[in-house]
């Protein structure tokens, strides 16, 4: 009752239930609700009590089993109480009638046959004008529940229901009726015309907000909005609905209305996104509501109404939320890690007071948001941007910056708190979302060639930041790093400083990182390495030789310990690449460096062999379903074993694996590499690797409110670069004041030439201002802005490779994966009503055969007749047998008895158990099938049957003996 287990008490509950006092009985029934389960054995005993109480004279007692039945119902129980429940439909007390109706509905859910005898009676109640209104209301509720399961059966009722809707003043019933009609209108479009006038009147006149809301909801759900678009009234009703909903959102001080209005908008947005998009202003206000429920609904909505025009502003708003919020866990994490940096943005080495102040303010203003919400927001942002194969996205540069920011803002997985690798691996929700962000970045890089360079650079900068700052969100185990590491490896030629990237990769390839990530990091290592060393044209100078051998030593040093990693995949890749690099190291050591007089080539292994492992056909994205479309080649028999001797081989391997550890040690002992050269210069590279982060800006822009300062600064620099040659572009005035000491150092390092270039020269050459003659970089950029080629997923199929096809294949895959789901697993609290859908209410009775209720009764009658016949025959045989025995006389009796005694134990052994079981089964089956009379019939039959079996055996014994 209060959430405690009381299944142990079921028998005692039954005792209390059978008490004669009503109040005690009531408590007993309450206990039954709590303790009885379908597998409770006492349920069998309770059946009779339930039946008895159902036929009680007192209305109170009678209603107890009625209200208890829905909780404990099983198909067999339904069958046995049905006959007692049906007469209660016509009970004089309306309370009993309405309770019975609902209970019958619940019976029908587990035992659909209930409806066959019950439905005509319920319908009769519904049609009865003089019926108590609350009974009618209960019927409507039940019909509404049944309605969506089998709408076809309820279409004939429409006139009566319509009448009820118009005439009755009961708001509760009207709500249900509207809900019911919403499921009926798709089947019968003519209903729409009839329904519209009353619904419009209700919308205009009703004082009850709930009814108003349900009217609008019904109009939306019934597809009335969509179907009546052609007619003149359609437009009117649509605007009426939307304006009412807008009013509901705008209402101050009633968050409930806001919530339900957003729910309704969510339904409209599927069919009429433009109508909802008009309400963008109010909806966007809801996104910032302090109420999480409202926010979530608004979020749902925003995803539906996104378009080219509003994407950036919507995402910007969401990003601002993410950035200005802070989850309780991340706070804890920050305390633990105690770097004290709440915002990763402030990680770079400048300690500007202004920034510090800004951060302080930010911290104080932060709202606490649950991590689940943040994850949801991030998922939605990704969904919005990537929907329709990036169809809504105009500015990919902006998107990449958003992704970088998202990686930083990803909620920290809770399992980071406990530094347990296993739990971290098991936890999927949070690593998942950062992984998704990373995947997005990779998708952009793969699909959009024009932006690949920027994407690779972004990946690089994220990778660097893991190495530079110790903020917890960029732990090497972070899911985002996997795709990012892959990008760094695959597009190594786009990297700004591959050297630094390699260092960062080496840094994160540690044994403590989960295997799934490590596999990818290890794979990226040789890719970057091969890019660094493969320049064919570069001379094999002594510097180069030392540099490369140093690099190889560092990589080998990292890989070697990973050869012992528990993850097999990691082991394999680490060993492979370590051995390959050892070979390369030998080769480069053997190749003497070229001196001033002798020109030496770089070793072929470095320039040809290793790069050829990784360069080849470009990798493209493949549609989700494409693999399934690959035709199976002729002559491929997947059922045929590849090696007939497989089992023996496996056994051999198993027995051989005992001495494997020894071999392992042996191997490592003899194939130990020369002691690796420790890397010493990491900090230096690190400092030089990220010069761009030095540039800071203080300008308050719209993007700044959600992007970290360094990203904003980079964007500005890029813009400047892009518009360098545009005489009409007014460069920001602070350009001169922006130089920080480090900036100066860089400039001086780069030499004076670069500085000269950077000075904007105003050339009033008209030719130059024309886009056609502007420098190639600019044209490229402008092309990027306007029409970016987004590569579609590659797929094999008949209908081409267009994006819709891709979507189709994904959709079909989803559908395919979803379809078996409802069968296999039910949601918690869900009523299993799968049988009722297959059940037919139409009165084609006899054709349905044995399942039919009446037919069943008929069959039982036949069965009883047959039993009587059998009984008669048996008696005849018995009499005949007696006659034979009498005729054979007394002389033979002795031997017969002897034989009998011999035979008896045998028959009992062989058959004794079997007939008992059979009898039980038969009895059970009969009681299961039958209702009152039939079970009685079974009882009548039972003892006779018992007699019959041994008799037959006796006869056998006698005949054999004689």
């Amino acid at each position: 009752m209060f959430g405690h287990d009381m299944s142990w008490a079921s028998f005692h509950v039954l005792e209390v239930m059978s008490s004669a006092k009503y109040l005690q009985k009531r408590v007993g029934y309450l206990g039954a609700v709590q303790s009885f389960r379908p597998d409770t054995e006492v349920l069998m005993l309770a059946t009779n009590l339930l039946k008895k109480d159902l036929t009680s004279t007192s209305a109170n007692t009678m209603s107890l089993p009625i209200i208890t039945l829905p909780h404990i119902i099983t198909p067999s129980l339904a069958l046995s109480v049905l006959s007692d429940l049906l007469p209660r439909l016509t009970h004089s007390h309306p309370t009993i009638r309405k309770k019975t109706i609902v209970t019958l509905y619940r019976l029908a859910l587990v035992y659909p046959e209930t409806l066959r005898p019950a439905w005509p009676k319920i319908k009769e109640r519904l049609m009865d004008e003089g019926e108590d209104p609350s009974v009618t209301s209960a019927i409507v509720n039940v019909v509404c529940e049944l309605g969506w399961r089998r709408p076809h059966d309820f279409l004939p009722l429409a006139p009566r229901l319509f009448e009820l809707l118009v005439d009755s003043g009961n708001n509760w019933m009207a709500i249900k009726l509207i809900k019911l009609f919403a499921t009926l209108t798709p089947l019968e479009p003519r209903l729409v015309k009839k329904l519209l006038p009353p619904l419009t009147t209700i919308i205009r006149t009703t004082p009850a907000m709930s009814l108003l809301y349900e009217c609008i909801n019904g109009i939306i759900q019934g597809g009335i909005l969509g179907s009546s678009d052609e007619s003149a009234g359609g437009e009117e009703i649509a605007t009426l609905c939307v304006s009412k909903l807008r009013g509901m959102v705008m209402v101050e001080g009633d968050p409930n209305l806001k919530y339900v209005a957003l729910l309704a908008f969510n339904k409209i947005v599927v069919t009429h996104p433009f109508l909802v998009a008009q309400q963008e202003d109010v909806i966007m206000d809801c996104i910032d509501s302090p109420d999480i429920s409202i926010r979530l609904r608004a979020l749902d909505l925003v995803v539906g109404m996104v378009s080219n025009d509003n994407l950036m502003s919507i995402v910007g708003r969401l990003m601002r939320q993410l950035r200005n919020s802070r989850s309780p866990t991340s706070e804890e994490v920050n305390k633990r890690v105690s770097t004290g940096m709440v915002e990763p943005a402030a990680d770079s080495d400048d300690e500007d007071p202004e920034i510090a102040i800004k951060n302080d303010k930010g911290v104080s203003q932060e709202i606490l948001l649950p991590d689940e919400y943040k994850v949801d927001v991030i998922n939605r942002i990704l969904e919005m941007c990537s929907s329709n194969n990036y169809g809504n996205l105009v500015d990919f540069d902006w998107y990449i910056d958003i992704l970088i920011q998202l990686v930083r803002n990803c909620p920290v997985s809770r399992s980071f708190l406990s530094q347990d690798v296993d739990s971290r691996r098991g936890d999927s929700s949070s690593t998942d979302v950062s992984g998704k962000v990373g995947n997005e970045l990779r998708n952009v890089a793969v699909k959009v060639k024009a932006i690949r360079l920027q994407a690779a650079r972004a990946a690089e900068s994220i990778l660097m930041s893991t190495f530079n700052d110790n903020s917890a969100s960029l732990n090497p185990a972070n899911g985002a790093l996997r795709p990012i590491a892959w990008m760094v490896g695959e597009y190594a030629n786009s990297l700004e400083s591959p050297d630094a990237a390699l260092t960062a990769l080496l840094h994160i390839s540690k044994g403590s990182v989960p295997g799934e990530g490590l596999v990818i990091y290890i794979q990226a290592l040789p890719k970057v390495f091969s890019f660094l060393t493969s320049e064919d044209s570069a001379a094999w100078t002594p510097e180069r030789k030392t540099m490369i051998s140093l690099l190889m030593a560092r990589i080998i040093h990292t890989l070697e310990p990973l050869a012992m990693h528990p993850d097999l995949e990691v082991q394999e890749r680490a060993v492979e690449f370590a051995e390959l690099l050892k070979l390369a190291a030998e080769a480069s050591a053997g190749q003497a460096a070229s001196t001033s007089d002798i020109q030496q080539d770089s070793p072929l292994l470095l320039t040809q062999a290793i790069p050829s492992l990784f360069t080849g056909v470009e990798l493209n994205s493949v549609a989700v379903g494409a693999q399934k479309n690959v035709p199976i080649p002729n002559g491929l028999d997947l059922d045929q074993p590849i090696n007939l001797n497989l089992n023996n081989l496996l056994r051999a391997v198993e027995s051989a694996s005992f001495d494997e550890p020894d071999q392992d040690e042996f191997e490592t002992y003899y194939h130990q590499a020369p002691p690796p050269v420790p890397s010493v210069n990491e900090p230096a590279i690190n400092r030089l690797g990220t010069p761009e982060e030095v540039v800071q800006s203080y300008q308050q822009g719209s993007e700044e409110s959600y992007l970290d300062p360094d990203i904003v600064a980079r964007r500005r620099a890029e813009r400047l670069e892009r518009n360098k040659d545009d005489p009409f572009y007014i460069a920001p005035t602070e350009i001169s004041g922006r130089s920080t000491p480090l900036h100066n150092i860089l400039q001086s390092n780069n030499g004076p030439d670069l500085d000269l270039d950077a000075i904007p020269i105003m050339q009033l050459d008209l030719e130059k201002t024309k886009p056609s003659t502007s420098p190639p970089k600019k044209t490229k950029v402008s092309k990027v802005r306007h029409r970016i080629q987004v590569a579609a997923d590659e797929t094999l199929g008949t209908s081409g490779t267009s994006t819709p096809q891709n979507d189709d294949s994904e959709a079909s895959l989803e559908v395919a994966s979803q379809r078996p789901k409802p069968k296999g697993k039910h949601s918690l609290l869900q009523v299993d009503s799968s049988h009722i859908g297959a059940f037919s209410l139409e009165d084609d009775g006899s054709s349905n055969g044995p399942v039919d209720f009446e037919a069943q009764q008929r069959e039982e009658a036949e069965m009883a007749k047959a039993m009587k016949e059998v009984e008669r025959l048996r008696l005849e045989m018995q009499r005949a047998n007696e006659r034979i025995q009498a005729a054979q006389g007394v002389s033979l009796e002795g031997t017969v008895v002897k034989k009998k005694t011999k035979k008896k134990p045998k028959t009992v052994d062989a058959d004794g158990t079997v007939p008992v079981v059979k009898k039980k089964k038969a009895q059970k089956a009969v009681t299961d099938e039958g209702e009152g009379e039939s079970s009685m019939a079974a009882e009548v039959v039972k003892p006779k049957k018992k007699k019959k079996k041994p008799k037959v055996e006796e006869e056998h014994g006698v005949q054999e003996g004689s």
Partner: protein, 186 residues
């Protein structure tokens, strides 16, 4: 339909749990605690609908089935939370009113109902609910008829009278605001 009706107090102790489908006790307990965590975190001014607790969130993409519980409605009265878990076939605003009717009926029966009344008269609590909801379907929404129905089952016992000792301690009477937000409870 209505999947469950729960009543628990401010510290999460259940006072009434009614699940209209059969459910393991351990799952029930988990669900109650999950909902309590959600409901306890709500700010006073926020709306009466909860996001679905983790136990109820569909594992796959949201299906259109009407069978899945999709709505958690709650109301907070002084020390007690009233929660209804329902599918999409119920109207959210109507459910809020339903809770209101339930509480008003209790108030009518106990006269200034308080948490203690519900502890000592749990049968009445269940009886009132049984007059309104059977098997997850709403059968009666009229306040008068509900009260009448419960009274017909016998006298409603009053709480043990020991009010001399300084009011009712932590379980003060909870004020019932008569008349719902839009008064469509008949």
């Amino acid at each position: 339909m209505i999947n469950a009706v729960l009543v628990f107090n401010n510290s999460g102790q259940p006072r009434l749990t009614k699940f209209y489908t059969q459910l393991e006790t351990s799952v029930q307990q988990r669900l109650i605690s999950e909902i309590f965590i959600l409901v306890n975190a709500r700010a006073p001014g926020s709306c009466n609908f909860l996001p679905l607790p983790p136990l109820l969130t569909p594992t796959t993409a949201p299906s259109s089935s009407n069978d899945v519980p999709s709505l958690v409605t709650y109301r907070h009265y002084a020390t007690l939370f009233f929660i209804i878990i329902s599918t999409s076939t119920e109207s959210p605003l109507a459910l809020i009113d339903l809770i209101q009717v339930y509480v008003e009926a209790l108030d009518r029966l106990f006269e200034n109902v308080c948490e203690l009344d519900l502890i000592f008269n749990f049968e009445t609590l269940h009886a009132v609910l049984a007059e309104m909801v059977v098997g997850g379907v709403v059968i009666e929404t009229g306040l008068e008829k509900v009260v009448e129905g419960v009274r017909a089952q016998g006298k409603v016992a009053k709480r043990p009278v020991n009010e001399g000792m300084g009011g009712r301690g932590p379980w003060g009477p909870w004020v019932v605001i008569l008349g719902g937000p839009d008064g469509d409870g008949e």
